[in-house]
Amino acid sequence: MKVIVDEDKCCGAGQCVLIAPEVFDQRDDDGIAVVLQAEPGADQHDAVREAAAVCPGAAIELG
């Protein structure tokens, strides 16, 4: 699984960080999501899929 965040679409809601804090974080200076693990381990896949499904900006792409 590969995780990409589209910064332009990100609205800083923080859902991804609340759901998968090991994979996502938000930048301190603008709240935009950053990916901590671009290829997360299998134990994170469910959380990452949930984060992508509920992202209000549809900013998380999974490859």
Partner: protein
């Protein structure tokens, strides 16, 4: 007469405080793009399907320019929070909006909200102790639901919580679409503006450790910051937004969970369900208020219906959140539902800025209530709970509980 043969009155009246009006399901099925008549007498187009509501909320052609001359007025007195001229001071779209959003959004990150958890927990515990000391039955709305979010947002903004009765009134004049006359609303907003202007001036002279002081410290527009007027309006917006929305949701969430004792028992048995339970109550909130109005600047199509330029659209997120095509067993409360891509906070670039704050507050309230008052129950049958009428954001008049 079925829903597509008449012009529905909107908001659709509903007698049951926690249940949706029967019209929602009929509209989603038969008439997803419906004509409705607003309290002002003007007409608008109501959307109730999940895909339509989600698409429109994320589409920049559907603007928030409810002050446009041909936009529908929501109520005879104007449109409260939705068509307030103040709203035009914050950029509505494009790069300027994104810039504003990022300047303010850094204060509402998940990490910052997690850092607030201990202080929120302490406030919630104190408020619950006070309610218990007052004896059963207590009113959870007045004792916990209202004060908690106010203390939290006041602290973030650096606004004195002692003035909360004044904020409540100012906020109500913006959020209640039917209760106040135009003169009273204008006078209240002028007072609110004066108050916030004074506060911002005070912070410019003597900065504190709070959001408004930090916004001032960034500098003016030439330094990549906001103008004084924008800071004042941002402060007003955040105070109103952080106030009645979550306050009302706390009462509704607890009522929904207590309406069926089995739900409360499930949470007591497995507090790990708190996060998904909070999301499910947000999804199933049938008393969510007005929904989100949008003004269409150019002709476009929704669900195969052409909407002309100048149309005012009302997105009912609450109706969309019960769409069977988006959620399995959409009418049922499933405390484990995951993923739960509900639209209670909107969608797209304008989705609720404070959603991590609201989620954290709701989770903390539920965690503390389950821990401190495991025997909590409604003191009246759920069917006797009453809605507050006319609010842009729906709520219950009181939430009588015992323990």
């Amino acid at each position: 007469m079925s829903v597509n043969e008449q012009v529905l009155r909107y908001p659709i009246p509903s007698d049951a405080a926690l249940d949706p009006p029967a019209e929602w399901a009929e509209l989603r099925k038969e008439c997803p793009v419906a004509h409705v008549k607003l309290p002002s007498g003007d007409t608008a187009t109501l959307l109730t399907r999940y895909d339509d509501v989600k698409q429109v909320l994320a589409d920049p052609r559907f603007t928030r320019q409810l002050t446009a001359p041909d936009a529908a007025r929501l109520s005879a007195e104007g449109g409260g929070v939705f068509s307030n001229e103040m709203a035009t001071i914050i950029p509505d779209g494009g790069e300027e909006h994104q810039h504003w959003r990022r300047l303010v959004g850094r204060w509402f990150t998940a990490k910052r909200m997690s850092a607030l958890r201990p202080s929120m927990t302490e406030i919630a515990e104190g408020l619950i102790d006070e309610m218990v000391a007052g004896g059963a039955p207590g009113d959870l709305r007045a004792s916990l639901g209202f004060p908690l979010p106010v203390y939290v947002i006041c602290d973030m903004l650096g606004v004195p919580a002692e003035d909360r009765d004044r904020f409540s009134y100012w906020s109500d004049t913006l959020l209640n679409l039917t209760r106040y006359g135009k003169e009273e609303i204008d006078a209240a907003q002028a007072e609110f503006f004066q108050y916030m202007s004074g506060l911002v001036a005070g912070k410019r002279a003597a900065p504190g450790d709070d959001l408004l002081s930090e916004l001032i410290a960034v500098g003016g527009p030439e330094e990549g910051g906001l103008s004084d007027l924008q800071i004042v309006v941002t402060g007003m917006g955040l105070l109103v937004a952080g106030h009645e929305t979550t306050a009302n949701m706390i009462g509704k969430m607890v009522s929904m969970l207590l309406a069926d004792r089995g739900r409360w028992e499930s949470l007591l048995a497995d507090p790990k369900l708190i996060r998904t339970a909070v999301e499910e109550t947000l999804r199933l909130d049938a008393n969510a208020g007005f929904g989100l109005p949008r003004y269409l600047g150019e002709e476009t199509e929704v669900s195969g219906t052409v909407l002309p330029r100048g149309t005012t659209v009302v997105c009912s997120m609450a109706a969309a959140n019960r769409d069977e095509s988006a959620f399995e067993a959409a009418g049922e409360m499933d405390l484990t539902r995951s993923p739960n891509p509900h639209l209670a906070f909107g969608a797209g670039a304008h989705s609720c800025l404070g959603q991590a704050l609201a989620r954290t507050e709701l989770q903390v309230v539920l965690e503390v209530l389950l821990r401190k008052l495991p025997t909590l129950e409604l003191a009246v049958p759920a069917g006797e709970l009453e809605r507050v009428e006319g609010l842009a954001v729906g709520g219950l008049r009181t939430v009588p509980v015992r323990w």
